[in-house]
């Protein structure tokens, strides 16, 4: 089965690690969100691509859920002396990734090339693609104006009332090489349990990707990141509400309605079956919380069974 996965950060990476244990190497291209890419100290940081690569490469810090294991923060501490911002917690080892990426980009390589190189060097067994080689930047309208995603997420710790979300420059972006082709040729597309607004939303905002999802013969399955009216983690619930979506598995299904075939939702939400079904999506209810590696593999197996 040819699979393509659309992925944000932490939640997606856990499912991908489960899937990676079940599928053959090289058979599951992962399209990662770059809407929350940012520049820190002049370096290009791609948080979601890194979380995917670090997780599949087996070097993620499991406790924090981001960054590299066995990390230290000596450069960060020293940057304070120069008045450089330190709220974006770049570790010394993590910094190597951003230095390497930035150097290659400065030399004219595309983010696609660079991401493939980093994934290879980290021993990632699946192709990892950015959604686009052009910059698309998720921004959120707070009471004091627009915030970049990382300002909202890391600096303000999501404690900002958001009135609107925007994907700046999305209209000028093109899908990265291979993204539309992979979706067109796939037997199945898996939309990971990621924030529909700030993880999957930017991917869909790249002109051509939503159309590819509508046009593909692949079965498209999403895993709901909302359980019982709340996000499993992070601000997905609040942001869905801010964007006028119902904060439920029904809301997730309706967000993806134009091209979604199957929604994997949590057993707690089984009562939503008729509502999801009435929107044209087939719901499957199962335990969607991944507490450990076994949980990741169990959800991955359920996902593959649903697609079979």
């Amino acid at each position: 089965m040819r699979i393509v996965a659309l992925a944000g950060g932490t939640g997606a990476a856990k499912l991908l690690r489960g899937l990676n244990a079940l599928v053959s190497p090289g058979t599951m291209p992962v399209v990662g969100n770059t809407g929350d890419d940012t520049r820190v100290w002049g370096l290009h940081v791609s948080p979601d691509l890194d979380t995917i690569c670090y997780t599949l490469g087996g070097c993620i810090d499991e406790h924090r859920g981001w960054g590299l294991r066995d990390e230290s923060f000596r450069t960060l501490e020293t940057m304070a002396r120069f008045g450089e911002p330190t709220w974006f917690n770049l570790g010394d080892r993590d910094l190597a990734t951003h230095l390497h990426r930035t150097r290659l980009l400065t030399e004219g390589k595309t983010l696609t090339d660079v991401t493939a190189a980093i994934a290879r060097d980290l021993g990632v067994g699946q192709p990892v693609l950015p959604m686009s080689d052009q910059p698309v930047r998720t921004r959120l309208l707070g009471p004091d104006g627009w915030l970049d995603f990382q300002e909202y997420f890391v600096r303000e710790k999501t404690q900002v009332d958001v009135a609107a979300v925007d994907y700046a420059d999305a209209s000028a972006a093109r899908p990265a090489p291979g993204v539309v082709e992979a979706i067109a040729e796939a037997d199945a597309v898996i939309v990971c349990p990621s924030n529909p607004v700030t993880s999957i939303g930017p991917i869909l905002a790249v002109p051509g990707i939503a159309r590819a999802l509508e046009a593909t013969d692949a079965t498209v399955l999403a895993i709901s990141p909302i359980i019982g009216g709340e996000a499993v983690s992070g601000p997905a619930g609040r942001l869905m509400a801010a964007c006028g979506h119902e904060v439920s598995a029904v809301g997730v299904a309706s967000t993806y309605a134009p091209w979604l075939d199957i929604l994997l939702a949590d057993s707690q939400d089984a009562a939503l079956d008729p509502q999801i079904r009435s929107g044209g999506t087939r719901p499957i209810f199962t335990n969607t919380v991944m507490r450990d590696r076994q949980g990741e593999i169990a959800l991955a197996r359920k996902t593959l069974e649903a697609l079979a």
Copy 2:
């Protein structure tokens, strides 16, 4: 007394630390060599300016003689995973300086601005100026072609036969703002005990600086880095020979002859008095080896006495 110092790296920085203990803050601009500046991992590294700032800021690693105290190398270790060169030993704390410098340069600041900002943030009490805001790159012709200075010095550990030394792009460089003015207005110019070929040579290669030394009313004093026919440290002797200079205090004096008034040479070389004098330079012999802080201050005091 208004003093200007021309400086390379380690040897210069020790004398400057001695002088700094004797003169008032802000009264001794230091013009630093940037001929051995380089790019590492896409970052602009200015080894001599950093050695000066770290030494005068009291944060240099005394044991190594370069870089910051209490250093670690976690980014470096991780860079190896991406196949990035690791022979230039950038520490995690040191990296903050290069990230900050590169970011400011990328934003359009000049090296003069950036160096002043770094010196201020590190608590350096004297103005530190680069010799030029334009790139001048010292390169050395070895058996297999031209090497950048850092390739020669750090990667090859100077174990290369050098046939020629060149200051690439020097003809297009201009003295940094304030350099020529400081020399013109000074009562004294101190040429630190640095390598005449690769530390002071690049400064003199910037059009206008040698002329300013010839034109100034200041007393110009140099401290010989050569004692008894050998360099106190580093490849100065071999490089002087490669450039056709006599490897002695006489050779140092003759290299600087057009504008040198006084050469402070080591007592071991007292027999060279007539030869130095016949070249038009007044020699003063003293102990020029700086083994500790007391030695630095003693040589600094001797230097100021000679200029008084």
